[in-house]
């Protein structure tokens, strides 16, 4: 699926003066369009919090329709990167190109408690195309068609999270950003939700960036797994396993062990 519309996340914060690596956004956009298509193109991205460089000259490229998982120890800046790509944080330097149509699902469902589920799904869409039937189709897709008229307070944790996913999907995004969307779910619901995301991704063909703590989840779902460290993508692994993937596949275990080692977990005892 081609991502035609690119938009620059323009830096609004203090930019390092005279930084030779910082191209003007327009130049990069023009240059980028001549290269192969991408759903995300980030170059030399930095984000500083109180003098601490959480993202430090980070490069990242995601192809259209590619499923990328992002791992890294807690506090290394995964959510920061995701928020920047979502356009929620503009105090950056460097360039970041993202599709105009992008959607986010956060760790907490963040449904507006004062809107019924279907209105939550349609929130932010312009009036002409936003009717209840469209919301119900999106909810149907995540198995929540019957709860369209419910108040968010009456949903279970997993249901609320699926509603949040439906709200992201109804926008037909070219880029879907997921920040630990299954983090708060119980093990069983989590497995179901992972399958759901896998299915939805194959149907929509959008690029996905999934932030997660769970190495197994990353290897199960992603085409490519990135490990973030020191403010950059420190390591990446292509997952060349055919789908559906099996946890018992020895290649799966090898990939998993390699990633855990990268993350500083000693697996020798477990292996």
């Amino acid at each position: 699926m081609a991502t035609d519309l690119h938009r620059t996340v323009t830096p609004s914060g203090p930019e390092p003066a005279g930084d030779p690596t910082t191209d003007t956004p327009v130049d990069t956009a023009a240059k980028a369009d001549q290269e192969r298509p991408a759903a995300v193109r980030v170059q030399g991205l930095s984000r500083v919090f109180d003098g601490r460089r959480v993202l430090d000259d980070l490069d990242l490229e995601i192809a259209p329709g590619e499923f990328v998982a992002l791992l890294g120890r807690s506090g290394c800046g995964k959510s920061t990167l995701l928020r920047i790509l979502a356009g929620l944080d503009r105090e950056i330097s460097g360039t970041a190109l993202v599709p105009r149509r992008k959607a986010v699902a956060f760790q907490a469902p963040r449904l507006m408690p004062w809107k019924r589920v279907w209105r939550n799904v349609l929130l932010g869409l312009d009036g002409s195309s936003a009717d209840r039937a469209r919301a119900e189709r999106a909810l149907e897709e995540v198995g929540l068609g019957e709860r369209a008229g419910a108040w968010p307070k009456t949903l279970s944790g997993g249901e609320a999270q699926r509603a949040s996913l439906a709200r992201a999907l109804v926008r037909e995004p070219d880029l879907l950003l997921l920040d630990e969307p299954f983090g708060a779910l119980d093990a069983l619901t989590r497995i179901k939700a992972q399958h759901l995301v896998g299915e939805v991704w194959q149907r929509h063909g959008c690029a996905v960036l999934l932030v997660t703590h769970d190495v197994e989840e990353a290897v199960l779902l992603a085409d490519r797994v990135l490990v973030m460290d020191g403010g950059v993508i420190a390591h990446e692994v292509d997952v060349a396993l055919e789908r559906p993937r099996s946890l018992t596949d020895p290649r799966f275990a090898a990939l998993r062990a390699g990633l855990l080692e990268r993350l500083g977990v000693d697996t020798s005892a477990a292996a």
């Binding site: 986010v104 004062w114 968010p152 307070k153």
Partner: protein, 293 residues
């Protein structure tokens, strides 16, 4: 220096004599009453009105036995008769109409000013800098103390009375709406942004609904204060209204009329409270809060 170690206590820990397993006692089972059966036996409104009715009965008994002389406080029966008379000769309805109109106008003005200011300082940082400090300062002035000033400014017509009510009403509204706006969850704002809501869309779909519980609290406070302000305003220089009726009654030592007026105040207050409750039930049904058992 050598330390003498006490000989270690190696006396065998005598194993407890194995008592025979206690006979198994089957627990006694108690039925759990279904909530639905416990509830709604007595309708809610009956339960809510039974308290005041009991008080009324007690009062009548005290008056009837002579424990409460009529000169201090008339009996409920007498008061009911006086009330009927006052309604029949039209003095009470016309007084109520005048008073209600004052409250309505004052409340409306206070609502516009209070909510307007709260929006300005809640939504815009510039507005906060300009408005909030002045309002915080003004609100510490007891509004009743402004009556003499208002009479000098506005004369003795309707204006000073409405102005007092407006003053009393706008501050609780301002404070609660402002706090409501600033209390909206930043995560929801961010979610709204990520969904592509415009600035106005964020205000309409996220900030204002989020501030609604606060606004309703403010409305309740200000309704209470509106009646209070009305009583003050009408006892100064009024020539109509419930307060005027009361002042007249005082001059003729008519405790029964005074009590009728007080009851009318209380009744109107209850009515207003009922209106707000209904409004809350309609507007805040989404709230996942504890509603009492």
């Amino acid at each position: 220096m050598s330390i003498d170690h006490a000989p270690p206590d190696i006396s065998p820990v005598s194993s407890l004599p194995r008592s025979p397993a206690p006979p198994r006692k089957d627990p006694e089972l108690v039925p759990l009453a279904a909530v639905a059966g416990r509830r709604s036996r007595v309708p809610r409104w009956v339960r809510r009105t039974s308290g005041p009715l009991l008080l009324l009965a007690l009062w009548q008994v005290l008056s009837g036995t002579g424990a409460l002389p009529a000169g201090i406080l008339a009996a409920p029966g007498t008061i009911a008769r006086v009330a009927v008379d006052l309604v029949a000769d039209g003095s009470l309805p016309s007084a109520m109409a005048v008073s209600l109109q004052r409250v309505a106008v004052g409340l409306l003005l206070g609502l516009v000013v209070g909510v307007g200011l709260a929006l300005v300082s809640g939504l815009f940082r510039v507005g906060e800098d300009l408005v909030d400090a002045s309002v915080q300062m003004l609100r510490t002035v007891p509004f009743v103390g402004l009556i003499p000033l208002f009479i000098i400014w506005f004369g003795i017509g309707e204006a000073p009375k409405v102005a007092i009510i407006t003053m009393g009403v706008m501050f609780p509204l301002y404070l609660n709406v402002y706090a409501g706006i600033r209390g909206v969850d930043a995560q929801l704002i961010e979610a709204g942004e990520s969904l592509g809501l415009s600035r106005w869309g964020l205000v309409r779909h996220v900030v204002l609904p989020g501030a609604l519980p606060g606004a309703m609290t403010g409305l309740r406070y200000s309704l209470g204060i509106a009646w209070l302000a009305l009583v003050f305003a009408e006892q100064v220089n009024a020539d109509a209204g419930i307060g005027y009726l009361m002042v007249q009654a005082r001059d003729f030592l008519r405790t029964d009329v005074i009590v009728v007026c007080l009851i009318v105040y209380a009744f109107l207050g209850l009515l207003a409270d009922f209106a707000v409750r209904t409004l809350e039930r309609l507007l805040l049904q989404w709230r996942p809060t504890f509603t009492g058992r």
